[in-house]
């Protein structure tokens, strides 16, 4: 009996330690985000206070009100930036996924000359830091008139995302047994039908997760966007954050408020497709 009890005690102790460990880890991950949310709701004095004020004593929506207010009184064209971000991210994601599906499928299913070399080349492009390309890109875009356009940003993000989506989607198609498409062909499908009615739905979760990664990359990208966009015609939300800096001051509260607005769509999207995301990441489950 006694040993039984001590065993139970030890198990409970382990459980508590586990919980505390998880709490600490999650704190490290979440506190910067929570700090931003908190700061967006409180006066600048409190944000700047030293030592930091952890428990807010005055929460209000002043920063949001100011942000949506008139330009010149701390206002920022939030809706325009939001629209730019949305157009650029969604379009570039859709294109990157279509190319990624075609490329990933080809890599997963077909043998062709130079396959390994092409694949490695695609991966190597990921090793080049995006900023390093900003100057050459700027010069080329300036020549062809793509500076400060949606198209310019879309092309940039497609190029950035395609190697990744190909790699990810290749992995997912590899896990779909070949025999599924063959069975579909025997059941009367054309090659094309077999893809859309069987292979695509089976790999859909994986493709959805590739889509989210591509979307978030475009949505959050700052370095290139800050170089290639100039005005409200194409500035995205991350670039818009810079509107809160002026020569001598930084409007931290406003910046945090815009950052919160930026995070919300990403969070909503992630929640909407999280079922797919998890299924995509634990893909083995659909085999059978």
């Amino acid at each position: 009996m006694a040993s039984n009890q001590s065993h139970r005690m030890r198990r409970r102790g382990l459980k508590i330690a586990h919980f505390i460990g998880l709490f600490l880890a999650m704190s490290v991950i979440c506190i910067p985000g929570l700090w931003i949310v908190l700061n967006s709701f409180r006066p600048t004095v409190e944000i700047m206070a030293k030592p930091p004020v952890w428990i807010p004593n005055d929460l209000n929506l002043d920063h949001y009100r100011a942000m949506f207010g008139a330009v010149g009184e701390g206002g920022v064209p939030v809706l325009t930036y939001f629209r730019n971000s949305l157009i650029i991210s969604v379009t570039s994601t859709v294109i990157a996924i279509l190319i990624g599906m075609a490329g990933g499928y080809a890599f997963a299913r077909y043998r062709f000359k130079g396959k390994a070399a092409i694949f490695i080349a695609l991966m190597v492009t990921r090793a080049v830091p995006g900023v390093a390309l900003s100057l050459p890109l700027f010069i080329i875009y300036a020549r062809v008139g793509l500076i400060d356009t949606h198209i310019g940003m879309i092309v940039t993000y497609v190029a950035m995302n395609v190697p990744f989506t190909i790699w990810l989607i290749d992995g997912f198609f590899r896990q779909v047994p070949r025999e599924l498409a063959e069975a579909a062909e025997i059941d009367g499908c054309t090659r094309w039908q077999a893809f859309w009615r069987v292979e695509f739905p089976v790999a859909r979760s994986g493709i959805a997760s590739a889509g989210i990664f591509a979307f978030l990359t475009s949505w959050n990208e700052y370095a290139l966007a800050s170089q290639l966009t100039r005005s409200v015609t194409s500035k995205t939300m991350p670039v818009g954050l810079l509107d809160f800096t002026s020569e001598f001051t930084l409007n931290w509260g406003g910046m945090c408020a815009l950052a919160v607005l930026m995070i919300i769509p990403a969070l909503v999207l992630t929640f909407l497709v999280q079922k797919h995301l998890i299924a995509g990441l634990t893909f083995g489950g659909v085999k059978g």
Partner: protein, 362 residues
């Protein structure tokens, strides 16, 4: 009418030829089993019939039509894959009805056909499950159901039972045979398991390294193997093979002992031969050896015995070669006990030692 004809059928991957100009005529309604060791080209042959693999040479005809260049969907065949290849995102009902849906048949027809197939294969209680929620045997049934709903002219099976446990395999084997009797369609069935081949086939096609070694009914290939490969591949335990040399109507084994040449075989004096004896035809004296006029007697020391219930398998040594013999009416055997065995010569075989081919029979 759905005969299948393979005429000089060749498959090559680059310079590597894996199917060598094989010829085979399969009659309408016949159950033909392609059997052979792993890697001998059975699946490749089947997949060429299905249209999943390009044909490098020769011709395939289904019914009267040459189908070489037809895609799988135009060949009116269905196939059961080794890993079943069920559509994981569809329920059992949708899996079964998929081919009819693709063919744009009215939903009412689809329901009738699907329910009938489900009834035949006892799938009715599982209709709304996904494949992931089925056991191996149930998945196997769904795969067969998917094959039968369309009433194809030819069924192709690629090792459909090899992922099942032994008991289920025996059970499904019986079901497949019943299904064939019920549907009467042509079946081409691939397996590496000779027991499956023997029990299911109207005719067995034994393949090795991309060649057909022998075609015949199970009894034919068992009783008259054309070479040592077929002799050892078909039948369990494998036929015992003893090397020797012909000397005046007998075969002299390596240790100098003599066995008479099996009746009806002719062999040239001095020829190097392989003597084949199945375990069923070499038994201790008094153990109901198959009837026959010609009996030889040898003494062998038994090194090991494997009781199987109704019979016991004896491992003994003859002329330096391990020989398996059978004992009906089993009794306990002491270690290294020497026993007198009888050999039913009428059932023995003689092969050319160099080529392995069976010698001519009178």
């Amino acid at each position: 009418m759905a005969q299948v004809h393979l005429r000089n059928l060749i498959k090559a991957y680059g310079a590597l030829q894996v199917v060598h100009a094989i010829n085979l005529d399969i009659a309408d309604g016949e159950f033909v089993v392609l059997v052979g060791p792993s890697g001998c080209g059975k699946s490749t042959t089947l997949r060429m019939i299905a249209g999943l693999e390009d044909i490098s040479g020769g011709e395939i005809a289904i019914g009267e039509r040459v189908v070489n260049d037809l895609p799988p969907r135009d060949r009116n065949i269905s196939m059961v894959f080794q890993n079943y290849a069920l559509y994981p995102h569809m329920t059992v009902r949708e899996n079964l009805g998929f081919s009819l849906k693709i063919a744009k048949r009215p939903q009412a027809d689809i329901d009738v056909a699907v329910n009938k197939a489900a009834d035949i294969l006892s799938l009715t209680p599982l209709m709304d499950r996904r494949p992931a929620a089925l056991s191996g045997g149930q998945r196997q049934r769904v795969a067969m159901g998917r094959a039968i709903v369309r009433h194809p002219e030819v069924f192709l099976f690629d090792e459909p039972l090899s992922n099942l446990d032994a008991k289920l395999r025996t059970q499904m084997r019986v079901e497949i045979k019943k299904l064939h009797q019920r549907l009467g369609s042509t079946i081409v069935y691939v397996t590496h398991d000779q027991v499956e081949a023997m029990t299911l086939a109207d005719r067995i096609v034994i393949m090795r390294d991309g060649h057909i070694e022998q075609v015949g009914t199970p009894i034919e290939v068992f009783d008259n193997p054309v070479n040592t490969f077929v002799a050892t591949f078909i039948g369990s335990p494998p036929m015992n093979l003893l090397e020797g040399r012909v000397d005046q109507g007998a075969v002299v084994l390596t240790d100098g002992s003599r066995l008479p040449i099996p009746p009806r075989y002719t062999a040239a004096q001095g020829a190097a031969v392989t003597y084949g004896i199945r375990a069923d035809n070499i038994m201790p004296v008094g153990h109901a050896l198959p009837a026959g006029d010609h009996i030889a007697t040898v003494d062998m020391a038994v090194t090991l015995s494997e009781p199987l219930g109704t019979e016991t398998l004896l491992f003994a040594e003859l002329a330096g070669t391990e020989v398996q013999a059978k004992m009906l009416n089993p009794r306990p055997v002491r270690g290294r006990e020497t026993m007198t065995f009888q050999i039913a010569l009428d059932k023995c075989h003689l092969f050319d030692a160099a080529t392995g081919s069976a010698l001519r029979r009178a």
